[in-house]
């Protein structure tokens, strides 16, 4: 995660702060936001590598249609980060290439 890649937070209405873990580091997210938003605030880029060439990708559409934001969330690989809300203690890591067999998703 790089500070110069962090998205900037504008003055917001009251929201609880939530501690989550992104790539082993503690990050503060806002209650009600998505994992994709939280990792961009943290300056994480890329958020996955592709199964075909291994090139890096990051959230692209933020509305569930492009599937670029697939991450490993709480042990579940290939999860759409833009469609998943953060919760306290959530553990998030970069999805490296294809997911490994054993996750509960087709």
């Amino acid at each position: 995660m790089a500070a110069d890649l962090s998205f900037n937070r504008l003055p917001c209405n009251e929201r609880a702060e939530i501690e989550i873990t992104v790539e082993g580091q503690t990050v503060i997210a806002l209650e009600g936001e998505t994992v994709a938003a939280a990792v961009m605030y943290a300056g994480l880029r890329p958020t996955r590598t592709t199964p075909v060439s291994g090139s890096g990708r990051a959230p692209y559409c933020m509305m569930g249609v492009c599937f670029e934001c697939l991450m490993n969330i709480d042990g579940k690989p290939n999860t759409q980060a833009c469609m998943t809300e953060v919760h306290k203690g959530m553990v998030i890591s970069v999805q490296q290439g294809a997911r490994e067999v054993g996750g509960d998703s087709i």
Partner: protein
């Protein structure tokens, strides 16, 4: 199929069309279920409207906060609103399957309304897959739901009303914008001028556009008009490092950490496609849209479509269509004896609101480089298939998009063709010398969103939807 939850009307999508329809249906006495993928109603245009996050309301502007009035439609006692619900299958016998909170359920409907909105037009160009390139819509969603502005320096490139809107909104946040690169082709202005009559009828939209252009000009942000040859370049770390483009004879290159791109929006047709509804190619908007009656009925007599998923019209049109279609459904289900006179006045309102569209559609038709990419530009993001590869398949005997799946796996990744479908059709049409209609589109198959095997296996053991509803709506 006894024992299943049954509704008079099931609405998919709680954006302006869905919320407006829910209100009409509830008030007319229809037992209505509205399913939405997001944790809060609003769709993308009014995303997070029930709980605005930005302290400074002037950033998003009044057009966002008018969406607050639509939320009332979801509170009617006959309307059940289920959040975080992803519909993954609809069958021809009026049964629908959806997943919410890790559990899948099936419900039956008399009538179904698809109000699944729009998605941004995929805009293939060199470097569009780099981490740091994202859509203007994505930047808006981040503003509306997290109060975030992108990593700087930042460049905004593309064409269309949303490009100007996000530019203005980000200017109001004092974000550091290196440049706005407008790729609207110079020749479009003449084409659009032929439609000036409609633009004058839709003067409110025209005025809004001019105000936004003024705001951009006053801000002092560099604004490059009629730019071509857009290209994003990576740095040593593989992330976006710079963007280049041509303006006249000069090739510009700007360092940036984020590049926001936009080439208009297109109807989200994924579900209608999977159901097998009839679609048609819109030559002016260069996209597919469902074939509908004037009351929004699709080629299936019990399935209706309203809002941007029926054809791009914007938030106001979506709201009116939602009301109109819901009233027609009420009429069909026998809720009203006589023809509802309100339907005619809604139809007139629609005509007024749509008057500006031919002007906008001609003005913001994307550059050919985005519609018909060449060379090594990635077309299918998931499987990393280039334009040259797709074009080359024709020489090997490939005659349609479904064959490209077998040849090169385009359209077979997790997005299920949402990002490459229209481009693949256009490229094949280009190479074969045929029209997009003759070439056709991918066959979209259920489930249209990932669903776990555990959920499928548990389908027959799930608790009633009502019990679950109390839990999920309580979170609102």
């Amino acid at each position: 199929m006894t024992g299943l939850e049954q509704y008079d009307l099931v609405i998919i999508g709680a954006g302006p069309a869905g919320m407006a329809a829910a209100r009409e249906a509830g008030e007319a006495g229809l037992n209505t279920l509205i399913l939405d993928e997001q944790p809060r109603a609003g769709g993308q245009i009014y995303r997070n409207i029930g709980r605005p996050i930005l302290r400074d309301r002037s950033i998003l502007g009044n057009d966002y906060y008018v969406g607050e009035s639509l939320l009332a439609g979801l509170t009617h006692s006959l309307v059940t609103h289920i959040v975080n619900a992803t519909v993954w299958e609809v069958t021809a016998d009026n049964t629908l399957y959806y997943s919410a909170e890790g559990v899948s359920r099936q419900v039956r409907f008399k009538k179904l309304l698809l109000a699944t909105g729009a998605q941004e037009r995929p805009v293939p160009f060199d470097g569009w897959t780099l981490p740091g390139v994202m859509t203007c819509g994505a930047a808006q969603i981040l503003l509306k739901s997290s109060g975030l502005t992108p990593a700087e320096p930042l460049v905004i490139a593309g064409s269309g009303p949303l490009l100007l809107l996000i530019a203005c909104q980000l200017i109001r946040t004092d974000a550091r914008i290196e440049a706005i690169v407008d790729t609207t082709p110079a020749c479009n202005y003449g084409q659009a001028f032929k439609e000036i009559g409609g633009a004058i009828k839709g003067w409110r939209y025209l005025l809004k556009g001019m105000r936004m252009l003024n705001e951009v000009r006053r801000s002092g942000v560099k604004y490059y008009k009629s730019a071509t040859e857009l290209r994003a370049e990576p740095g040593g770390d593989g992330n976006l490092a710079s963007v280049s483009f041509r303006k006249g004879n000069i090739l510009h290159q700007l360092d940036c950490k984020t590049l926001l791109v936009h080439q208009g929006v297109v109807p989200n047709t994924q579900l209608g496609r999977a159901i097998g509804l009839e679609h048609q190619w819109d030559e002016v908007q260069q996209c597919w849209k469902p074939t509908l009656s004037e009351n929004g009925c699709s080629s299936h007599p019990d399935i209706f479509i309203a809002g941007d998923s029926a054809g791009i019209g914007g938030a106001m049109v979506a709201e009116i269509q939602g009301r109109l279609v819901a009233r027609w459904i009420v009429h069909q289900l026998g809720g009203t004896e006589r023809r509802d006179p309100g339907i005619d006045s809604l139809r007139k309102e629609l005509i007024d609101q749509l008057a500006i569209r031919p002007f906008l559609d001609h003005l913001y038709r994307p550059l050919d480089m985005f519609l018909k990419p060449q060379g090594e530009t990635i077309v299918c993001r998931c499987e990393e298939v280039s334009a040259a590869e797709i074009r080359g398949l024709v020489k090997q005997g490939c005659i349609g998009p479904n064959q490209t799946k077998a040849f090169c796996r385009s359209g077979m990744g997790p997005c299920q063709g949402r990002q490459c479908g229209a481009t693949v059709t256009t490229l094949l049409a280009d190479e074969l010398g045929k029209s997009p209609v003759e070439v056709g589109y991918y066959n979209i198959r259920f489930p249209i969103k990932p669903v776990s095997l555990g959920e499928l296996a548990g389908l027959n053991q799930t608790r009633s939807v009502k019990a679950q509803t109390d839990q999920t709506t309580a979170r609102n």
